[in-house]
Amino acid sequence: MSAEDLLAWRPQEELKDLPKDGPPSPSDDEAGSDGERKHWKLLEAISSLGGKGRWKLAERSEAGMHASEFSVGSAGKLALADLLQAAEPASSLATVKRQLKRVQVKTLALPASKEEVARVQREAAFHQSSQALSKWEPIVLKARQAEQLVFPLQKEPAASAPLEHMLRGWTAKTPLEREVFHTLHQHRQPVRDPLLTPVERAARQAMSLEEARTRRAALQRARALQSYYEAKARQAKKIKSKKHRRVVKKGKAQKALGERGPLPEGSAPSALEELDRRETARVMERMGLKHQSRGKRARALAIRTRYEPKARQARQDQLARNKELMQKHQAPDSEEEEEGGLLAPDVDQAQTDPTGSNPWMLRRPTSESREARIPKGPDLLPEPAALEDSASEQESPGADKDTWGKESEERQPLQERWEPSQDAEPVGPQARRDTSHQEVVSEVRALSQKLSKRGRPSRKKPEASSLGAVLPTQSSESMQTKVELGRENYPPDMELPRPVSGGPRAERIPEDQQPGVPRKQRKEPIIDIQNLLTASPPPGTPWAPEELEGDGERGQRQVIMEAFAGDDVIQDFLKEKRAVVEESQPKAVDLTLPGWGEWGGVGLQPRAKKRCRFLVPSPAGPPRKDGNRPNVIISETRNSSMAAHQVHVLPPPFSHPQQFERTIQVPVGATWNTPRAFQKLTTPKVVTKPGHIIKPIRAEDAGCRSSSRSDLSVVQRAPNWLSTQHRRNTDRAALRP
């Protein structure tokens, strides 16, 4: 702001709007006399009287050449010396006048207007306060970008300083304290942090870094080894395997033996005694049951049994003995038990106790046994009866038992073995009766080996034959009665049901019993499975309760099948897929124009040749993705119903669709993320504690310095100025209506 700005009343501005053709303004020749001015005024007045543009009288408010000292203008040309005009008569002032003329005087600027001053003040204050505010800028930015804000913002109370820091400036004052410190000093005990005695400090300093490192490494290694062994021992302790335990025990024994050392040489009797004891122990061990089949000798014996009857006998004896020893003593309850006591427990029970309280009886029959049950007619069952006497006559119970023991293992091979014997020459009943069971078995084995060499795999008829394998050893009377009962169920003229896959024995045995019946007739009746399934089982069969159960199940299945009778889901799906595939294949374009080049008329049909010619086959499309997958339909066409759920416009923060897609594809849920990641991903942006008052942010909370001066003190520092301003304002307010 300069003085020129303030001078609103300058003549130049005043006279600016004079017409262009008018005379030069008087300000041009300021030196002009008063008379000229008056003349000019007159002229102006006259011209304004006549013209349309009536000019206002230009007033001059500043001092002219003759300025009085009472009204000092600030027009540029006024000289200080002019002020002395009033004092003209005094000649003594001439020198003063001359001096004053020499003095260069600068004109002072007018004081600014009140509005101007206020504005400048306001601008300065605004600048100041916005500077004060801009210290909040980083805090605000940080809060806006924060991942999570937790309100209220009050900081936790500062942690208390450690005791050592508190004690730094503290000295012992009381006599007791002084005494304590004296003692401590005497014994060179540490008083302050770090709490190391001089000896310790010296030791710490004595060890070089390298040394310390090696030592530390050695210690670490030792510790690692220790922990490793500990872990190993712990693991070994947990092992439950009996075998392992046995091995461990043996190892221990060996160790103990080793500890006992070599044979004492000096004293002969003691040495002999020791030798004897060890030998006895070894023999005991070798004769133990655990070496019966796995030892070297046992294996060799097993091989030899095939060729040498003696060896075979020896082995049989051993096995029999073994079984005998293994047998647990049972209280003889009934005759049956005495008789069949040596049977394998499961068969024994199955046969003796069909409906009893034994829970194992009620177990669901395996598919094998169910199949096996089918032919359990009198046709099949006589076999044991036929065999029975032979078994009871000749075979010792031990031997029988023996075959049973093997039975379970050899069942499958036996099935295979029995099958080929169909082709082989039939063994007569008498011969079979004569030979012992073992012989039969061995013979069969040999046969089967021969056949298996020929390479005839046989999978069929396993069940019946297995049953056949089982049955010969069933030597109970009850069994026979059952068989007879079962036979009675069928009328004599009717063919008895037979197993579909009846084993050779099953066929053979009735032949033996009824030699007169021609073979053809026996083959004739084929069992109808449906018939069998629905037929009631012979009474007294051990599986009867389960048969009923199975029936219920089947009924249930039938009900379901009936309910969903027309529901062929798979066929429907295939049909659907076929339709989709057909639809997706490109169609040939028919370009025939009916009637073109032909006589028209009703019912016109383009000729086949023509149709063929104008049928444009379209190229085959790309192979279908589900071509190799029969159980899926992959549609590659766009599903228009999905469009309503899809985003059409890229939302603002993203610049590329891929970015957006990627953010959407990252799952947030706990199904796809670990709990920690889930927690992290779902942190809310703003967390407030319920029931807590959230106060406005303070400089202390934000971590920046706050002004310590209170606003009030600042206001009250200059009360005079304020009060005057207030008075002025209130006066003004009072003046207004």
């Binding site: 504005r119 759920h645 799952p667 849920g669 927690q679 008052i693 009360p719 301003q725 009072a734």
Partner: protein
């Protein structure tokens, strides 16, 4: 016989107490959890729907005033206490937990124009049409005592607004000028004026406490500095500003509630362009209050509704209205960021939830986790059209709805006209004025 047994570490499947949920071993193989996007989308959709289902924001109505509620004030130390002043000069104190009026004072003759509490919560000030400023004790009078103000200041002119300093024993009133009062004195220690129009509201900045903002009926907003006892800057808008509110977390941000149905958020340092223009109301906005977290604010309007705006969004996220609520004159956001109170013409103070579908009360950790997850899902899928549609859907009273439609038509017409003018005049002669600049007439230094 060798029996093979399963052996497991019980720590892996046994819970510590019976109150724990069962441990479920998890396999995070992505092949086992296919279709993550569609599944999460459906979850988000369900969460959005449930949010709308549970959006029941109205909690209580505090009735007892015998005239329209003109002003509200929060207690600075107690969440449960609210003060309200009515148009018949009655001041009431309310307990929000019991939803009962705990004290009634006939404070003034005529309107109670303004009410504010002292920062320590020991007393409060009221101003009224009877040209007085009265200070009252927060605790009621003892038995036998009469209800009397601690102090009464008789002014020369009517005071229209009052606010208390956030830290010191100073308060400011406005009427024909802004006066700063020391509580101990009966005359103001400082008066500031700029122009000669009546000032309708004055507010202290809660962070930089020496700053004040006021709005006058000559359409301007004036900022003052109490320390230097001078106004700082003035911004003139299209229409009158009814009140302003400072952001409690951002020192230089305030929001002005304007008569032209909009709210303007300003950065104090750059007044020529508002940071954000918030528009959704269909009538004059009468009051505005920030949430204590500074992320949102609530505005009360003459159109009988209150709206919640995020600070950085120009459209509201929520609108609250009831059939009986008339022109809403004053609104406050409680200090725990949970509730909103509004006082309206028809003598009631209403209590709303700030988050319409929030479950009140203590949440278990699982509930909290589910809430956070749903919130995250809603945020993640917010741009999907179905979810956006459901989340935005609000039922509005017919008057507001039709007004919105009408104003949309008006706005469109105005826009079309401008486009046409621009099309048919010399290029550059009709400049494109952004919405933010449109409503600012001038900034006076």
């Amino acid at each position: 016989m060798k029996v093979k047994m399963l052996s497991r570490n019980p720590d892996n499947y046994v819970r510590e107490t019976k109150l724990d949920i069962q441990r479920v071993p998890r396999n995070y193989d992505p092949a086992l959890h296919p279709f993550e996007v569609p599944r999460e989308y459906v979850r988000a959709l369900n969460a959005t729907k449930l949010e709308r289902v549970f959006a029941k924001p109205f909690l209580a109505s505090l009735d007892g005033h015998r005239d329209g509620v003109n002003c509200l004030a929060k207690h600075p130390k107690s969440l449960a206490t609210v003060l309200s002043g009515a148009c018949d000069g009655e001041v009431r104190l309310w307990n929000l937990t019991t939803r009962k009026c705990i004290r009634t004072i006939q404070a003034h003759e005529g309107f109670v124009r303004g009410i504010c509490t002292r920062f320590c919560g020991s007393s409060f000030f009221t101003i009224g049409d009877d040209k007085t400023v009265k200070q009252w004790k927060m605790d009621g009078p003892g038995s036998g005592e009469e209800e009397e103000p601690l102090q009464t200041i008789l002014g020369k002119t009517v005071y229209t607004g009052i606010d208390h300093h956030w830290k010191e024993a100073v308060f400011a009133t406005c009427g024909q000028q802004v006066d700063i009062w020391d509580e101990q004195r009966t005359s103001p220690i400082c008066s500031m004026t700029w122009g000669f129009d009546s000032i309708s509201s004055v507010k202290f900045n809660p962070i930089e406490t020496f700053l004040l903002g006021s709005c006058a009926s000559d359409r301007n907003i004036v900022l003052y500095d109490m320390r230097q006892a001078t106004p700082l800057k003035k911004v003139i808008l299209d229409m009158r500003t009814n009140t302003i509110c400072w952001n409690p977390m951002e020192a230089f941000v305030f929001t002005a509630a304007n008569e032209d149905y909009n709210l303007y958020t300003f950065d104090m340092r750059a007044l020529d362009t508002p940071v954000m223009v918030h528009m959704d109301h269909v009538s004059a906005v009468l009051d505005v209050d920030y949430s204590p977290t500074g992320k949102e604010f609530v505005s009360a309007s003459f159109d009988k509704s209150i709206r919640i705006f995020p600070v950085d969004k120009s459209r509201s996220r929520e609108v609250y209205h009831t059939k009986r609520m008339q022109h809403v004159i004053c609104v406050k956001w409680t200090s725990d960021n949970k509730y909103i109170m509004c006082g309206s013409d028809e003598m009631n103070i209403r209590l709303w939830k700030a988050d319409a579908s929030e479950k009140l009360g203590v949440l278990s950790s699982r509930e909290k986790a589910a809430k956070d997850y749903n919130q995250k899902l809603k945020e993640k899928f917010q741009h999907h059209p179905q979810i956006k549609r459901i989340a935005r859907h609000r039922h509005l009273p017919k008057s507001i709805y039709s007004q919105i439609l009408e104003q949309r038509v008006m706005k469109e017409a105005r826009r079309r006209k401008e486009v046409n003018r621009r099309k048919h005049s010399k290029p550059g002669s009709v400049p494109i004025v952004p919405e933010k600049k449109k409503h600012i007439v001038a900034v006076v230094k």
